[in-house]
């Protein structure tokens, strides 16, 4: 009952805190630039379906128009199968963002749950879970992803699965350390003394306080995921053609890059912009959440 009374108050306080973070974030010009850039990419991905048809505009070969340099009709030119590069770039933003979002979503949920359980209960549970995480962490992320994709075979779903598995340990570690530092604090002790269930303590009392570093990590992680997926596709172990993934577009452009350099410039620049925007947002969020670091 007291819980019900206290909650609205907590919410009011949290909202003002969020507002404060937003105000600090807004002051950071680079972070705002990142946010605008990212929103533009999201808009591009969302609108792709309205004026592009996947089968006719994105993947259908059109050999008579192949390798046209950028012109009024094809702003970004066409590739060696005569497909419009702009259409493929626009559709490709969907793939990158979807894989990025899902990967981070899955990794954050699973990793977060593991970390929370591990940190909250400690002891043997913690030891076993963390040793398993250590096994995953012992390998450089790319190698693990390649091994998993190799076993499962390439393709959107398998790449997503492999990338998520690689990222789980990082989230588990972050949540675990937040939970451990919060576990001993009075408000958790107080909730325990009231007889609150463990799951409720974790979700209601601990997680809201651990969310800051988690969001920062998620943003930066999405950036590395987009890079990673592009890399996998580039070596032919990621998203398979004819799907217009930016990394695989680069891979296809390799044979043409001497004579048609735009085929190499454009997808690369888009990968860079997507990753840059997320990095800027992540940095900005970190500074906004921890104002001590600035100045």
């Amino acid at each position: 009952m007291t819980e019900g009374k206290r909650l609205p108050q907590g919410k009011v306080k949290k909202r003002s805190q969020l507002k404060e973070i937003w105000l600090r974030f807004r002051k950071n010009k680079l972070a705002m630039f990142g946010l605008i850039l990212f929103l533009a990419l999201v808009l591009m991905a969302l609108s792709a379906g309205f004026f592009l048809d996947y089968d006719t505009d994105v993947v259908k070969m059109n050999m008579k128009d192949r390798l046209l340099s950028p012109n009024a009709q094809h702003w970004f030119g066409t590739d060696h199968y005569g497909r419009d590069v702009l259409a493929r770039i626009v559709w490709g933003s969907r793939i990158s963002l979807v894989v990025g979002l899902y990967t981070v979503g899955i990794a954050m949920t699973v990793g977060g749950a593991i970390g929370a359980v591990s940190g909250y209960f400690g002891g043997t549970v913690d030891m076993v879970l963390m040793r398993i995480m250590d096994i995953f962490l012992a390998l450089p992320g790319t190698i693990l992803a390649v091994a998993i994709v190799g076993a499962l075979g390439p393709g959107l779903f398998n790449v997503l699965l492999a990338m998520s598995m690689c990222r789980i340990p990082q989230f588990a570690r972050i949540v675990r350390s937040s939970v451990i530092s919060l576990r001993g604090q009075e408000f958790v002790e107080a909730a325990k003394a009231c007889g609150t269930k463990n799951s409720r303590i974790i979700m209601r009392h601990i997680m809201p306080n651990a969310i800051g570093p988690l969001v920062v990590q998620a943003t930066l992680n999405m950036a590395t995921t987009i890079l990673g997926v592009a890399g996998l596709s580039f070596i032919g172990l990621g998203i398979e053609p004819p799907m217009p993934e930016w990394g695989s577009m680069l891979s296809e452009a390799r044979d043409q890059m001497w004579y048609h350099p735009y085929l190499m410039w454009i997808p690369g620049i888009f990968i860079m912009l997507a990753v840059l925007s997320l990095n800027l947002i992540g940095d900005g969020l970190r500074d906004a959440l921890d104002p001590r670091m600035k100045n």
Partner: protein
């Protein structure tokens, strides 16, 4: 100290076992029959069955895994399905190139990254600082393989300065190392800058200034050593990241190193070769981390002291 290193090496064993188990399990689910891969498409079903029996592929999963681990413990990591040569030999032949470009890359990243990070912090908000911060931001966001392609285009195709493909001379290794180094260099710049900024604000820096030390002395004698402690960890992580990055960069530059071995073994379902090379990479990464931790104890007197105390106490106990 030796005791500690020994303990750490022993701790690597369960990790490597875990990795092999996970990979073994994953490969079990992947389609494709090893016997068919070895014999090729023209072999008869009988020949394939015969080979399966011979290789023990019909045994239960755990039996096969156990046999693999036992053999591996004796140094026999099996033979590659494709080339039929021992996995150990294959890795030994391919690893040196990867090691070379990784070492060159880490040297570039450290030798440029740390000084730039320090200058950036000491001259905070100066033009040099803004420039290096921007460059670092950009380099963390550029895909290494794209950077590699750009380098090939400018330095090999347009200006013929460096050879683009292969690994015959040290010149061949410059561009791969540069493309590998860029992202790690950026990370090191950012890390050095932020820890240096934090250190400069510490009270003991003010104490040093109050003694009459010049700002140059304050930076070099008092600040750097403190600031580099966290950077050492970053460098350790970078080495591990480089091994992963090499996988893709080797592909760009047509270098047949450990990364290529892994990618090819994945593509051709060459389980023994994949297992061997991934476990090898894990061990290398493990030793790098161990090296970083050992280095730490030598640089930071606080950790060293902790460590000495611990061993002393242990000594007293036994």
């Amino acid at each position: 100290m030796l005791k500690y290193i020994g303990k750490r090496v022993l701790l690597m064993i369960p990790v490597v076992l875990g990795i092999s188990f996970i990979l073994f399990t994953i490969m079990e689910f992947s389609p494709g029959d090893p016997a068919r891969i070895i014999l090729g498409d023209y072999a008869t079903q009988e020949q394939v069955d015969e080979l399966r029996e011979e290789m023990g592929l019909n045994d239960a999963f755990l039996v096969r895994y156990g046999r693999y681990v036992l053999n591996a413990a004796q140094g026999d990591f099996g033979k590659s399905y494709r080339s039929n040569s021992p996995v150990v030999g294959e890795i030994a032949a391919r690893f040196p190139v990867t090691l070379k470009i990784s070492l060159m890359a880490i040297m570039i990243a450290v030798l440029i990254g740390i000084p730039v990070g320090i200058i950036s912090a000491v001259k905070q908000y100066s033009f040099a600082d803004i420039l290096s911060t921007m460059a670092a931001l950009l380099f963390t966001s550029i895909p290494a393989f794209w950077l590699g392609l750009l380098l090939i285009m400018f330095l090999s195709v347009q200006h013929h300065i460096l050879p683009s493909v292969g690994s015959d001379t040290w010149k061949h290794l410059i561009m791969p190392s540069l493309s590998l180094a860029a992202a790690q260099m950026a990370t090191i710049i950012r890390m050095t800058r932020s820890t240096m900024l934090e250190v400069i604000r510490q009270d003991y820096i003010r104490t040093a200034k109050a003694k009459g030390a010049s700002s140059r002395r304050v930076v070099f004698h008092h600040a750097i050593k403190n600031a580099l402690l966290p950077v050492i960890t970053t460098v350790g992580l970078s080495v591990s990241n480089l091994l992963g990055g090499a996988l893709i960069i080797e592909n760009v530059f047509g270098i047949s190193g450990l990364g290529t071995v892994m990618v090819n073994s994945v593509k051709s379902k060459d389980t023994p070769l994949l297992l061997g090379s991934v476990m090898f990479a894990a061990v290398v990464a493990g030793f790098v981390n161990l090296g970083v931790d050992v280095l730490y104890t030598y640089v930071d007197p606080r950790i060293k002291a902790q460590f000495v105390k611990k061993t002393k106490r242990q000594g007293a106990g036994t």
